[in-house]
Symmetry: C2
Subunit: 279 residues, 2 copies
């Protein structure tokens, strides 16, 4: 198969998001399309082998899809990564995780983009939506001002926090907590009273809008903004980005993935991601 075929086949499978609700799927497809429309010329096709773009375990109880497009060498984009994971739970339900992240390379110090939806039942959802900083914010009050205060990111967090179904969510990974920005939207939504319809309504009328706004800020101010980065700072960014990428792989593929898919599939996916991440 040619590289374009590989990309098209995998992408089609990826954007099916076959196990989540329509508003959840619409949200993810819309975010990916927005990124691809805006950054298309910066992105290479997805060259992951098909058995990495989509994999499942022997019993078929767990499936995952992975879509990575690296940036052109001349681009500020390092890569974009979309994924979904589905696995049946012993309780009879299913866990569904969908994510889209976009990493910039050391030609800019602007923040990355990340969204992750973790749905453990039709009425229970964890949302992580953020522009993770590329520098130590404590040492860089100007950077904090430009990307987090002037963009009014915290207002979006506050709006979602007002919904009665929303509680703050705190990840068990201290490293993940450290990587995220002070305006991260990290919430748990429990819509048991309103049922699955209420959850779909929250995704459609609240999360969808907020995610588009945050992605819009990222595209305008980060991916397509221009920043002056000196040689020394490039070295610093390269090192910091690498540590984040390595630790993120550890967190994402460290425990659950091997348990669900076994060592062979895990090794294959791990190798492909390390290759795309260049770590």
């Amino acid at each position: 198969a040619s590289q374009m075929d590989l990309d098209n086949q995998g992408r089609q499978k990826f954007i099916e998001f076959p196990f989540v609700s329509a508003p959840h799927r619409d949200l993810m497809v819309n975010l990916l399309s927005t990124v691809e429309d805006r950054l298309g010329s910066h992105l290479l096709p997805c060259t992951l082998p098909l058995d990495v773009q989509h994999c499942q375990n022997e019993s078929g109880s767990a499936q995952a899809s992975l879509h990575i497009r690296s940036g052109h060498q001349s681009s500020q984009v390092d890569f974009i990564l979309g994924s979904w994971l589905h696995c049946k739970l012993p309780t009879g339900g299913a866990l569904n995780i969908t994510s889209l992240s976009a990493y910039l390379n050391p030609s800019t110090d602007a923040p990355n983009f990340i969204i992750e939806l973790i749905q453990s039942s039709p009425t229970s959802l964890i949302l992580i939506l953020d522009l993770p900083p590329r520098k130590d914010l404590v040492l860089s009050p100007d950077y904090l001002q430009i990307f987090y205060e002037d963009t009014q990111l915290d207002m979006r967090r506050q709006m979602l926090a007002k919904l009665p179904e929303v509680q703050p969510y705190i990840s068990s990974s201290l490293y993940l907590r450290s990587v995220l920005s002070p305006t991260v939207i990290m919430i748990q939504i429990e819509a048991e009273a309103g049922g699955p319809e209420r959850m779909e309504e929250i995704i459609k009328n609240h999360i969808d809008i907020t995610a588009k706004e945050v992605l819009g800020i990222w595209l305008d101010h980060c991916a397509c903004g221009e920043r002056l980065v000196g040689k020394e700072e490039k070295g610093y960014l390269k090192k910091r980005d690498e540590v984040i990428k390595k630790k993120t792989i550890e967190i994402d593929l460290g425990t659950n993935f091997p348990r669900l898919f076994g060592p062979e599939v895990t090794g294959r996916v791990l190798g492909a991601i390390q290759n795309a991440y260049n770590v």
Copy 2:
């Protein structure tokens, strides 16, 4: 007055904590005594002028007390700072803030200590309790492991979060959020149903124990631990510590203090703090 007299007079006034409940006062006095007992030989007497150690506005509706002891030159301690603030509110109630922080100097990279209690009514309390890191945790997973994972700090946060009166608290200052660690205890306690007695019980039976444990970890692992810090890293720590100290002064004395005490008192206190902070 000799320096020792200055220290004794100011300290006595400071540890009165005249406007907070007995368990709240006991907690603060106990923490200060523990630090002074353990680090006493490292600390110089408080040399703030008496009109900085204690100040009030013309009408007497606002009072503040400040106690700063710098570390000996040979010590790892930069300074410890205790404070309380009392001001009557237009609603008839009063706002009471008490705090104790301890900063280390660049001879070590170990975290600092901070506790702050913000009581806006007898049944409403915000608690900030943390060991703020001295380095970018994203770049230093080992540091995160040693000071935050191995010390099980997050367990203490989780314990307090279980109380029905406790909600997460999110500061409006993005800079403050950036300075704090991923295991920060930053909570709002609302005990309206149980009344002031319930709040005193929560302070005595829960906050007191947790604060002592966190301070114990700081004394054992940070203030009295030994860390190898190279020359280049000392320079980095010096710069980062300075930015934090300057921004912290801005946040603490930037808006409320001038409004409450007027420009003259604010100028005097600001100068004394900048002097003690060496910024």
